[in-house]
């Protein structure tokens, strides 16, 4: 693929598709205050999926930024964060639910509001999971791009408002053939009483090969070993 494939996901929107390994997936917040909920699965065997605890503990982090990789539950790298203008993306806030969306923003439905009704991450992700032959049992903690949740020493979680400026950008490089699920729905911990209306631009383009001096590969020794596991997997697949 030489050109750039792109789609703009409006507030409440969703998308899923298989992105082959060796692509850059660049996300841009077109207004301030974006939150894009992301789930990743091995496209060939979706029982292998993004694993929040494995990702966090291997990299001794509770936030995601440039250099970090998104690890699968099989010790491999699904995608790397190769570029990031923001410095903090949220792996612990989860996806919004129908019940939570109704409680925070008021009851909405298609019958009255047509496509202005307020969608939830739970429903968006479930639809795309079922489309891929999966189901609710495959729901796991996602990554929320563009959001920041910090924890104090008591363990209390704090959503940081106004974290994401207009134009904030983060790029994932796929290291495996990856089923990507996206839901442009609010972070469940965002206390704002109004449903955010922030479109996110998604662009997919070819990545350069991973070199020995690659930033994500060398970010931690754990990352190097996860890359080695990934390459071994593809060596076997041929």
């Amino acid at each position: 693929m030489n050109g750039v494939w792109q789609i703009t996901i409006p507030a409440g929107g969703k998308w899923s598709g298989v992105v082959g390994r060796g692509r850059l997936v660049r996300f841009t917040a077109l207004e301030e205050g974006a939150n894009l909920t992301v789930l990743l699965y091995n496209a060939k065997d979706p029982s292998e999926r993004y694993n929040m605890p494995d990702t966090l503990k291997a990299q001794h982090t509770s936030h995601l930024t440039r250099g970090h990789v998104l690890m699968s539950d099989n010790g491999r790298v699904l995608a790397s964060l190769t570029e990031d203008t923001l410095g903090w993306h949220d792996p612990i806030g989860g996806y919004s639910t129908r019940a939570g969306t109704d409680a925070r923003y008021g009851l909405t439905n298609y019958q009255e509001l047509r496509n202005n009704w307020l969608r939830s991450g739970e429903e968006n992700l479930t639809v795309e999971l079922v489309r891929a032959g999966l189901g609710r049992r495959d729901l796991v903690p996602p990554v929320n791009l563009f959001s920041k949740i910090s924890c104090d020493e008591q363990g209390d979680m704090h959503f940081v408002p106004r974290h994401c400026p207009k134009g904030a950008q983060v790029t994932l490089r796929t290291e495996m053939d990856t089923l990507v699920l996206l839901s442009n729905t609010p972070n469940p911990m965002d206390p704002s009483p109004s449903y955010p209306s922030v479109p996110v631009l998604v662009e997919v383009l070819a990545a350069e090969p991973v070199n020995e001096d690659d930033y994500c590969l060398n970010f931690r020794p754990e990352n190097t070993r996860a890359f080695e596991n990934t390459w071994a997997y593809y060596a076997l697949l041929g």
Partner: protein, 216 residues
């Protein structure tokens, strides 16, 4: 550091309807009836009891670390914590806890994650996710690898820092410390008594746990 919330249980051992010892590296899977109270005892201290729950009426709805954390606005589990599924359903409530803090961010060890975290030559070592999978096979009710969600680590301490770091701390549990939770509905519990030998989550010395159940 955070306050440790320690609450003793009024229940007596002799009143329990079920009592079993689970050795280190072994597992346990069983359905709890509505209202039953499950106690996990860290017999020798510094052990990690990796635990998952499922709505027995709808096993596709598994325990959710995130729904549990965001539901209470805090990452640590202790007395009063409501353990929730992906759908937000309340499965159990922690009703007693003499340890005071438990982790649900750190997940379970696996052969594959061991190779990432420690070294490639740890691949043959025994691990929690193998225990979970074997218990699922023996339970024989259709549970598969895809049902393995991020779990609870009872008796384990994985603090995060305000700067966004994450670390593994030792020493929050002690011999005889226990945690008790009451099931709201029919709930399937899956436990791996952690065999990890590579980090201080169980002081490099995996030891037995005891599991007791009381009727409501």
């Amino acid at each position: 550091m955070a306050v440790f919330n320690r609450v003793e249980s009024p229940r007596k051992i002799e009143d329990a309807v079920y009592d079993v010892i689970v050795p280190a590296g072994d597992g346990w899977m069983k359905e709890l009836e509505p209202g039953q109270v499950l106690r996990i005892v860290d017999l020798e201290g510094n052990q990690a009891a990796d635990t998952l729950f499922y709505d027995a009426e709808n096993p596709e709805d598994h325990y959710s670390a995130i729904a549990t954390m965001t539901g209470q606005g805090n990452i640590y589990l202790t007395a009063g914590s409501v353990l929730r599924t992906e759908s937000g359903k309340a499965l159990l409530t922690i009703v007693a806890d003499t340890c005071g803090r438990h982790d649900t961010l750190g997940g379970a060890c696996s052969a594959q994650s061991n190779t990432v975290r420690y070294s490639h030559d740890t691949l043959p070592m025994h691990n929690c996710r193998d225990t979970f999978l074997l218990q699922m096979a023996k339970f024989d009710k259709g549970y598969l690898k895809r049902d393995l969600a991020p779990n609870i680590n009872f008796f384990m301490n994985v603090p995060v820092t305000p700067e966004g770091g994450l670390k593994f701390d030792d020493g929050v549990s002690s011999p005889g410390a226990y945690v008790e939770m009451q099931a709201h509905g029919r709930t399937t519990a899956l436990v791996s008594n952690c065999p990890q030998l590579n980090n201080p989550c169980n002081a490099y010395n995996p030891t037995p746990i005891r599991i007791l159940i009381w009727d409501n």
